[in-house]
Structure formats: structure tokens, C-alpha cells
């Protein structure tokens, strides 16, 4: 919480993204960006494990949260504002533009999925966010349960909702959805969206 986020202006993100390449900052060997005063690092998936390990050894003792994000339709809604979820199509936004809009540093290729890990260091109450790109054709990620045991349920949740497989996870199974569910509901191309609300007569069929 270095600078006061409240005074940040609306296009802070753009400034962050533009200034960053000028002086590449590295933390645990991964490029750093600052987003609204929060520190974010962007290791590649291959390096992620090593980076996370050095983060843990550096005092980030608690893995607060693991979230998945599916960037498939990123930016479509802001261009075509409407309440309906847009029909899925590969985004036609150029890579540079996409990188800027997703506030990724230079050298990181935006992929469809992202695994976001939030870490907490008790010693100075600092937080670190690790964003790792995961490609759509190979949605796997090395498990971090050997670093933080508590990541167990969080990884299962990401697996359940996004279908990102955590290799070597001790018990990777669905956690929120029923076991026979098909598909991963928080993926943007998951198709079973809305079930029309059905208003019916008295189910006994006989009146009361």
C-alpha cells in the first residue's frame, strides 16, 4: 500500500502500463507491475513454481487466495455495451493493445486463462499478487499445495469452475458442482446460461 490509492486518477492503469517498460523491475526474477498501488508479479508458467517458492521463503507465509480468470471475451462488453453476455468469438484485439488493457508487462503474452495467487506476508503486512498466464490449449498449472497446504481447496475450486488442472494436486476433484456435471461453469463459453423461469399452475394440478 505504497501510495495512496484514493488519490489515483482513473487512467492510472494506463500510466502504469506505459511507464513499466522504461525501467523493468524484477522481483524473484519476475517482472513487476503496480496496479492501484498493489504489487503484482508476472512469472511465466514454467518459472511460476520457482518464483512462488522464493516468495514463500522470503516470508510470504500465507497463500490467501487462488482465483482463475478466463479472458476469452475480455473487452467485448466494453465495446458493445449491453447486459447480454456476448456470443463467444476469439477476440480480435491486437496483442499489444490487449497487453495494455490487461495491464501486463512487456514480454508476457496474454493467454486465455490466468491463475491469480494472492500472498500475504505477516511481518510487514504486505501483499503480493502473482498472475500467471495459462494457455487455452493446455490448461494446466503446477500445484502449489506443497508450498502452502491451504491451497488445496482453492485449487480444487479453480479446477471445478475453470477446468484448469493442477498437476500433482493430491486430490483434484470437483468441489462445488456435482460430480456428474459437464463443463466448467465460469468459463466464458460455458453455454447453459439462463434457465428460463417457468411459472406454472398449482403443481398438484387440482387447485387447493
Amino acid at each position: 500500500m505504497a501510495d495512496d490509492p484514493a488519490t489515483a486518477v482513473a487512467d492510472d492503469a494506463r500510466e502504469d502500463a506505459h511507464e513499466q517498460p522504461a525501467e523493468p523491475e524484477l522481483l524473484y526474477g519476475a517482472p513487476v507491475t503496480w496496479m492501484r498501488g498493489q504489487q503484482v508479479i508476472h512469472p511465466s508458467r514454467a518459472d511460476a513454481k520457482a518464483v512462488l517458492k522464493s516468495a514463500r521463503d522470503d516470508g510470504f507465509l500465507m497463500c490467501i487466495d487462488i482465483a482463475g480468470v478466463d479472458y476469452l471475451t475480455f473487452g467485448e462488453r466494453s465495446s458493445a455495451e449491453g447486459s447480454e453476455r456476448p456470443i463467444v468469438s476469439p477476440t480480435a484485439i491486437p496483442v499489444d493493445e490487449l497487453r495494455r488493457r490487461r495491464s501486463l508487462p512487456e514480454g508476457i503474452t496474454p493467454d486465455r486463462f490466468e491463475v491469480v495467487i494472492n500472498l500475504l506476508r505477516f511481518a510487514d503486512s504486505s501483499r503480493l499478487r502473482v498472475r500467471v498466464q495459462v494457455p487455452a490449449d493446455d490448461p494446466t498449472f503446477p500445484t502449489v499445495t506443497d508450498l502452502w497446504f491451504g491451497a488445496d481447496a482453492m485449487e480444487r475450486e479453480v479446477f471445478d469452475l475453470f477446468g484448469i488442472e493442477f498437476t500433482d494436486h493430491p486430490d483434484l476433484s470437483r468441489i462445488l458442482m456435482p460430480e456428474d456435471w459437464v463443463g466448467h461453469p465460469l468459463r466464458k463459453d460455458f453455454n447453459s446460461g439462463r434457465i428460463p423461469v417457468q411459472f406454472k399452475g398449482d403443481p398438484s394440478g387440482e387447485g387447493s
Binding site: P5, A6, V69, G75, R101, A153, M154, M177
Partner: protein
């Protein structure tokens, strides 16, 4: 079987269920019971032989508890492996209340967002709204007026009291102190009355909005709160008489479900469970949000990390909350209760009648919502159950692109297998109760 002989609905959950001990490797078993956290993986590998050599005795059975069980706080389901009455392994099966709120959160505008998140942790709805709004405000870069901040603190602390009173009631009920059920509800009802007066609803308030709060405090709020603050402490003393010093209560709770600080940290457990181990970690003090750095309060910690400590911590946190609320009453500033930024908050009701422009803004905000610049942010608050976090990715539109809630109960539940291991089933109920999981938040 159904009443007419057709096969009844099944609740088979496949791999989510617990496999029998004979088919589970020792490492997995040890991991479930938490021993791996104390032993190295290699050491536990070595235990494998002796562990597996133990034939599955006839005494052992796998039992299902829940999802519809009165002492599992809603729809938690536990698979238990028992030997006699001793719990050997526990596996929580969750998801019976999965509501797809993260999905719905992406369908609703930022303005509607609090309506959705407030239904997650229904024992402390204000905190959900708070963390959502803090995150959106971080993305927007707006500064909330001082009065709004203090109103938020007032509501949050009162909500913490209500939530802990609910815990007192259910904890007592689970352990057989049935009269606590009545007392806890009686006090909680008083707090809810104030909430109803301010927000119009007893729960799921949707009171905290991006940029401030929905409405200013009504006339007479101060007297109402003061009456509340005078009424509750003597009743807490009654609880002390009824439970804290009572030998049966102590026997039921002391030494049950103990956990250490290291184990909590490894499991990601926060809140009263972490504090019960003696580790004083409270986001209100260690990573202050709102104006918590301007009020004076103590972080209550325990010593042994057992159920009794968790009970005592919550009881005393109510007292600390009362202390905070008193300071909030003294310091409550005057001013706006939401930012006067026409892009974020609707214009005052009175102006709509006179100004066409205000009407248009009002209409636009409620139909289209406001746009939030691209970016992502994570904010956390200390909810009564631990660290409640919210991660939002914005793509520049008026809807969150991704809204994720880090629910404390969800993570805290992971400590159940560890804390229940080796105890009796009756103690297991005490442990579940002391974790105080709210299933709406676990499953979201």
C-alpha cells in the same frame, strides 16, 4: 426409495466422497488428518508400511453426516471414518449451496453488485458489501467522504456483534446449552432492529454502495445505538455466568479441537481460529482499512487454540466492538454520506425534481451503471470469520469482468479434518461449531 417404490434420488458424489481406508494410501490419509503438516513427506512415506499394514478392522466404518444435519450449520456434509466413536478421518463435502454468485456478479453492474455479494455471508452481510465496494472504489480511484467511512465502520462493528451473537446462540445450541439459543437470538434481534431502521431490511441490506452508503443515518440513530450499547454488556456478563465459568461448558470445550499457529498459517486459516492460537493477526489493526487506525481497540487472542479459546475470543470481540462503536459515536463527522460524483452515485433525490440533468444522470446510473476503468484489484477486510477478500477484474465496462470472493469460511473449513482427527464425534460437533462456517459463503 420413493414413496411409490421408485428409486429415490441419489446423492452420490463420486470422487468427492471419501474412499475407504483400505483403498487410501497412507500419505493421503496422513494428509487428511493433517499429520503431513507436522511430519515431512519422507517421514510420512516411511510410516506408510506400518500404517497400511494395519488391517481395516471391523470396528471401522465410514459414516455420512449431513448435508441436512442440524449441527452442521446448514448444508455442510462430512464423511467420517470412525472407529467406535473416535473420528479417524474426516472429509468435508461442500457445494450444496453453490449459487453461482461469482457468475451472477459478472452479469450485474457495479451498482447492483452489492445486492449479489451481500447474500454470501448472510450472518455478516455488511462485510460482503463493504469489501466489494472497497475494491470497486480502489479501481475507480474515488475517495469516500469521511462520514460514509464512519457510517461503514459503525455498521460493520454492529454487524460483527450480531454475527458473534449468532455464534453464541448456535454454539450453545450445538453443545446442549439450549437456553443460549434464546438469549443469543434475543440480543441479535435488538441489533437487527437498528439495521432495519437504517437500511430497511433485517439482513441482506445492500446498504453500502460504491462511493458511500445508500442513505444517511435516520433521526434518532444515536439514541438507538446508545440504548443498544447499554443493553448488551450486562447480557454478555450473563453469558459469562451461564457458560464461561461453568464446569460442564469448560469440560466440553477446553482442549478440544486444538490447532497451532503454524498449522493455521499453512492451511490459510484466518480470523478467530488463528487468533485463538495466540497469533494476534487482525486486519483492522495490521492492515487498516476504513478508519480503524483512528480508533482504539484490542485484538483478542487465545492461548491454546482450542474450542474454548475460540468461544472466549468471540465473546470478547463483542465487547471490543462495543468499544469501537462508542468511539465511532464520538467521532462521527458531519458531511456527505456518499461522494458527490455524478458518474458514480445518483444525484440527491430532491434535485431530480428540479433539474432535468439530474434526472438524466439518475436514469443513466440505474440503467447503464457507471463504467470502471480497466484494471484489477484485491481488497480485504476482517470479517467476523477471518479475512474476507474480493478480487475484481474490470474490462472498462459497467460490469465486472471477473468477480471473485475469497471467503474465510471456505478456507477455514480446511482445518476441520485436522481439528477433528482423533476426537469423539460429540467433540466434532463442538469443533464444527467453533469454526462457525456460513455455508452461503463457503459455496457462494
Amino acid at each position: 426409495m420413493g414413496a411409490d417404490g421408485s428409486p429415490a434420488a441419489q446423492t452420490f458424489e463420486g470422487r468427492q466422497e471419501m474412499t475407504s481406508a483400505a483403498l487410501t494410501s497412507a500419505v493421503a490419509k496422513l494428509r487428511e488428518s493433517g499429520a503431513v503438516m507436522r511430519m515431512t513427506e519422507e517421514a510420512s512415506q516411511q510410516v506408510q508400511e506400518t500404517f497400511d499394514g494395519d488391517p481395516t478392522g471391523d470396528e471401522r466404518m465410514i459414516m455420512n453426516m449431513g448435508p441436512q444435519h442440524p449441527s452442521t450449520h446448514g448444508v455442510l456434509r462430512l464423511m467420517l471414518e470412525l472407529e467406535g466413536e473416535t473420528v479417524l478421518r474426516v472429509k468435508p463435502v461442500i457445494g450444496y449451496l453453490h449459487t453461482g454468485m461469482e457468475w451472477t456478479g459478472e452479469e450485474l453492474t457495479y451498482l447492483q453488485g452489492p445486492t449479489n455479494v451481500t447474500r454470501m455471508d448472510y450472518a455478516s452481510p455488511i462485510f460482503n458489501e463493504l469489501v466489494f465496494c472497497l475494491t470497486v472504489e480502489k479501481l475507480l480511484g474515488v475517495e469516500v467522504p469521511e462520514r460514509a467511512t464512519w457510517i461503514r465502520m459503525l455498521m460493520a462493528e454492529l454487524n460483527r456483534m450480531a454475527s458473534h451473537l449468532l455464534f453464541m446462540a448456535t454454539n450453545g445450541m450445538d453443545l446442549g446449552a439450549v437456553s443460549m439459543m434464546l438469549y443469543g437470538w434475543r440480543e441479535r434481534e435488538e441489533v437487527l432492529r437498528f439495521f432495519e431502521m437504517v437500511t430497511g431490511l433485517r439482513m441482506n441490506h445492500n446498504y453500502i454502495r460504491c462511493g458511500g452508503v445508500a442513505a444517511d443515518l435516520p433521526d434518532g440513530w444515536r439514541d438507538h445505538v446508545l440504548r443498544l450499547l447499554d443493553m448488551i454488556p450486562p447480557r454478555l456478563d450473563e453469558y459469562d455466568t451461564l457458560m464461561t465459568g461453568q464446569p460442564i461448558w469448560r469440560d466440553r470445550l477446553q482442549g478440544v479441537g486444538a490447532i497451532t499457529a503454524e498449522e493455521c498459517v499453512a492451511l490459510g486459516v484466518t480470523g478467530p481460529i488463528l487468533r485463538s492460537t495466540g497469533y494476534a493477526w487482525d486486519l483492522r489493526r495490521d492492515d487498516p482499512y476504513l478508519a480503524y487506525d483512528e480508533v482504539d481497540f484490542d485484538v483478542v487472542v487465545g492461548t491454546y487454540g482450542d474450542c474454548f479459546d475460540r468461544y472466549a475470543i468471540r465473546l470478547n470481540e463483542i465487547r471490543e466492538s462495543i468499544r469501537i462503536v462508542r468511539q465511532v459515536l464520538d467521532k462521527m463527522p458531519k458531511g456527505d454520506y456518499r461522494v458527490q460524483d455524478r458518474k458514480v452515485t445518483p444525484p440527491p433525490r430532491a434535485r431530480i425534481d428540479e433539474s432535468m440533468e439530474a434526472l438524466i444522470h439518475h436514469f443513466k446510473i440505474f440503467t447503464e451503471g457507471f463504467k470502471v476503468p480497466e484494471g484489477e484489484a484485491y481488497c480485504a477486510v476482517e470479517s467476523p470469520r477471518g479475512e474476507l477478500g474480493c478480487y475484481i477484474v474490470s474490462d472498462g465496462s459497467s460490469h465486472p469482468y471477473r468477480m471473485h470472493i475469497r471467503a474465510p469460511s471456505f478456507v477455514n473449513l480446511q482445518s476441520l479434518p485436522h481439528m477433528m482427527h482423533g476426537g469423539l464425534i460429540a467433540d466434532g460437533v463442538a469443533v464444527i461449531s467453533s469454526v462457525d462456517p456460513i455455508m452461503g459463503e463457503v459455496d457462494r
